[in-house]
Symmetry: D3
Subunit: 240 residues, 6 copies
């Protein structure tokens, strides 16, 4: 990454990214050589979940050990409770559960508190517990599914705002997370500026192509565009 | 388990457990040192499935062998048909499919008969076949999904009312199964009495905490409760 | 397979198969010794998807290699685009993605074009991208799920109308694919004739058995039928 | 299996099978329509392990539950200890561990006792503990590897001489197990007679083909044999 | 863990543990309620590897991201090189590779340096690269296998001496690692004292039992011991 | 890949590559942006296997279907036998078994014939059968292990010299395969020239670094080299 293009994830940037599919974002990142930015296995918990955008706030778990992972540990200063209280408004919680699916990272109580703290969403390579309660809080969640056992049955919480792995991807606090019905992509902070510049045009172009297919155009020459198609597209774009 | 507390799973017990989430039950069991009681990978087949409670009635399958697993075997005295006819009213069928997902344990015909026999539900670490037909019978089902091939394509039935493994958990006939939207938990017979005693209070306490979060309380000191929170809670409880 | 019974998959055959569940078809094929005809892991993308029938038109991918799998490759003569333009009307696209789930085989643009070309459906042991867009095209799709990254992030396309593996099953161009809510079955061309002959009777018989169960009949002697049950059934059938 | 051919696994049968590779045996069983007879994932623990043959004596485990799987349970009447004392001389222990690899089914003490009881070998789809101790007993073992934790850490023993699943295969007490450096095959009791009749000829034929390849013969026409090759082979066989 | 028994891992403690199998240690830890202390999947790289004991010194990796995991990153202050230079003499390197097996955590150069720094061993839930070179350094290694690609092809290093997960187990810097031919166990610092006290007696007792089995004793009453066996054992112990 | 550097894999090139570890080759390929060139899961069958180099000659299998994968199919013109007879001298057989491990791709007869045809080696993401026989032929083999069942029990052969996937990597006929004790790497034809140029220098440099570590040098500044280290190295190189 010689071409750094850091940009703040301000309200305008969030607005822009809300209009771009993760399909388009992964395509743009691939062109920049970033292939491993797709969080595997985390799907939206809610049917017809809207797209959510926010800066990553990370939580790190390791596997449970009986001497550490006890209900008593919930009161420790290094607890998920303390971490949640440290979240800034608008943050996207990214929870490294090491893929453990036998115990839920959070249930309704913690999700309800995250909503109060104006978290925009939560993603984990683990699962949630009390599915119905979690859906009831309204928090947008991406995860591998649900399991009732409490986190201490399978997980030990070790810290927050560290670099983590989540669904096979490295996430650094402050990276941007965009999640929609396909799942979630990580935009490294250093390339956010470039992505913000290129994404709207890519979306417009793909939208035009879909319309062309709707008009009966054949694929070769259209997608990707050959020169004559591009000329037609440029003409259309100028006319907008 | 020095502290045995067997209790009958009578109508009152079922009524009590219908009001307790599997999330709460697994928490209570964890406090008793029971960590491996969550049936992995079995999710409700029906959208918005209600909670179901019943005593386990077990079925055991092993992998298919071409000389044994044939349509002809369906007529043998050791058959799933005979097992279903042996089920008492109110039983929860627990089917050990050794996690095999290439052949459905049961389809619409057997599920329809289980409904007739007043089975309250069925859970398997395998899959069902003829998803639409099974849903049509109204039987509450927890499983890993669906596959059309008949059981004999991948499974050989060997017996019923034996101790089995299901989703990584040991189930003994007569244990209590509670299943809801998160999945299913096994309550060993010896601890049922204690669970019945503790569960309603745990539910009430967690409900009060959710309400406190809704009023804007912060997590530390609330969940788990510190002394002053507990005093507030006790006062509230007395006032009910 | 000494007993060859090839038959054309004409409009009448398609009509017949649309009335037969994949559960019934896999049972019939099993009786003919065909156990490995069930495409594993590919489930309908759309809720309440109707049954779809068509001749297999195959696509073959191998894992991505950075020197081959580039956006530029989309314009190559051996491209998914060229393959789609080669599909005859009524074909069922069968896509061998080697089970890779980190990149979507197709998104909305290619699915939209397949609809224009009157493809009846698509099945893959991989995933699609732009779930919402793909659903918007109306193409019936069976797959393992969704992932936003473009195919070139994980897959290299190598050809079409070759014998492929899909979901652990061998598919030869021209085999018949029948897919419903359980998933999809492959009917080898050589046995289509026999299957067409036997399937409607099997469906009728199972339907009658379901009705008998509804009337309170016990399973032993009913399913499978003993002689007296068969006599009753034959009488009923004659009366229709 | 219309063609039943049960035969006793007497000393002569054992001697015959000791001279036949599992590769040849699986080929013969495949020709009889038996495809699922290969125990998956169980490899010989000892380097250059000789072939071992014996009748299956089965052990069945289910996953551990903390109230059942305790060191105290080792003294229960339904224990692995009691099962070992029930083994007849010459038996091949087949241990269904449900594929659990986190706890060893047996260590040096139980294996040493099995040697004393003249067990010919042991196979499991789980692992052993105290690898060095187990090797020291001299018992031939096929397994998935080693793990130090005692069986009660992951497994609960439930009974012996039941039909079990082991490595994805159904094993019935009394079936014949043949294990060599490739792993292990199950010969169902009903086909043992036929296998004993066909195996030596198959071995001789394959040996002759290997020699022919050594002499520079090309594969087509040799393997499988065409008519002229078979004539040459028959002549050679007559000359022996 | 109310019963804390921290003890220093001094030379005497190491000497004691070198004489105790991991099979015995996991049994002792299980009796203390510690079930999840076995590092899964990490086997000794060298044939007939001797037992190794040392305090854990942890390394943490997350999945590679193309903008971070580059050969250039090897020169960063947060690098595996800096971590190795920070290791005290006698340390046991514990490397959290998140189970990634497509890139080797270390090769011959880093292992050679660890030998120079008097590291006693290394364990990872990932793999090493340049198997032959690593064996040549003489460093005792436990891992899942080998893969040639450099760590940056699949992994990003993020820090050292943090609490990590390794092979499904939580490891805290300073915990004791004991590894032998079965694999490796973690002894939490707080229970080391108790383990040191109980382990030698457990070893002696199991050794005596093995000898008894060698003399032809039957298992029931011997293992676990009944009262009369214990009396015999106590007498023998007194006579030593 | 803008920088094409195709070169013939002649005797000199093979000689060069025999002196380069797969660890070094994957490092060089990574620097060229080629990350997915490591064949996963295929390890040398023989202890202390020497490095082998040759051009890929591909075989493609799909899963077995009972109507296709029969012993009779071994005589078909599209058979593994015909493919082996088509192999040129010096070829490295690359066998796409779709990762199926339940049936061996080849046994002793076919491997013996490959030796006669002067094949230099064989690699598969599946397994071999008749381990002892295969080792007896002397053919260098990389695979996932062994299983006795014949290929037709799990696999159908569909063709040779096609682009295939093997162990998660795309292999095109004529790519160069280098395999050693770590496993195997694919060098795409287009970059072979560059690799041949850079590899010997990389090996020399790493060898010098290993020697420096042996002399007690610390890692930072040495690996990767800082300027003063590079000057020392260059001086040493000039002195050779």
């Amino acid at each position: 990454m010689t071409n750094e293009s850091a940009a703040p994830l301000d309200a305008a940037a969030i607005e822009t990214l809300k209009g771009v599919t993760t399909a388009t974002l992964t395509t743009i990142l691939l062109k920049k050589g970033l292939r491993n930015v797709w969080i595997r296995g985390a799907m939206p918990l809610r049917h017809r979940q809207e797209r959510v955008v926010g800066p990553a706030f990370t939580f790190r778990f390791v596997p449970a050990r009986e001497d550490l992972a006890t209900p008593a540990s919930w009161g420790s200063p290094i607890s998920t409770r303390a971490a949640i209280e440290a979240m800034p408004e608008g943050a996207f919680a990214v929870i490294d559960a090491m893929g453990i699916a036998d115990a839920g990272v959070f249930g309704d109580i913690l999700c309800a508190r995250m909503v109060k703290r104006k978290s925009v969403g939560m993603i984990t390579d683990g699962v949630v517990r009390d599915l119905e309660g979690v859906l009831g809080t309204g928090l947008p969640v991406w995860c591998r599914g649900a399991a009732a056992p409490p986190s201490v049955a399978g997980l030990t919480f070790v810290g927050w705002e560290e670099t983590v792995g989540c669904g096979g991807v490295c996430v650094i606090p402050g990276d941007t997370i965009v999640a929609d019905r396909d799942g979630a992509v990580v935009i490294p902070a250093a390339v956010l500026g470039d992505v913000l510049k290129e994404a709207p045009e890519q979306e417009r172009m793909e939208g035009w192509i879909v319309d062309e297919v709707g008009r009966g155009e054949v694929l070769p020459g259209l997608y990707p565009m050959n020169e004559s198609t591009r000329a037609r597209y440029d003409k259309w774009k100028d006319s907008q």
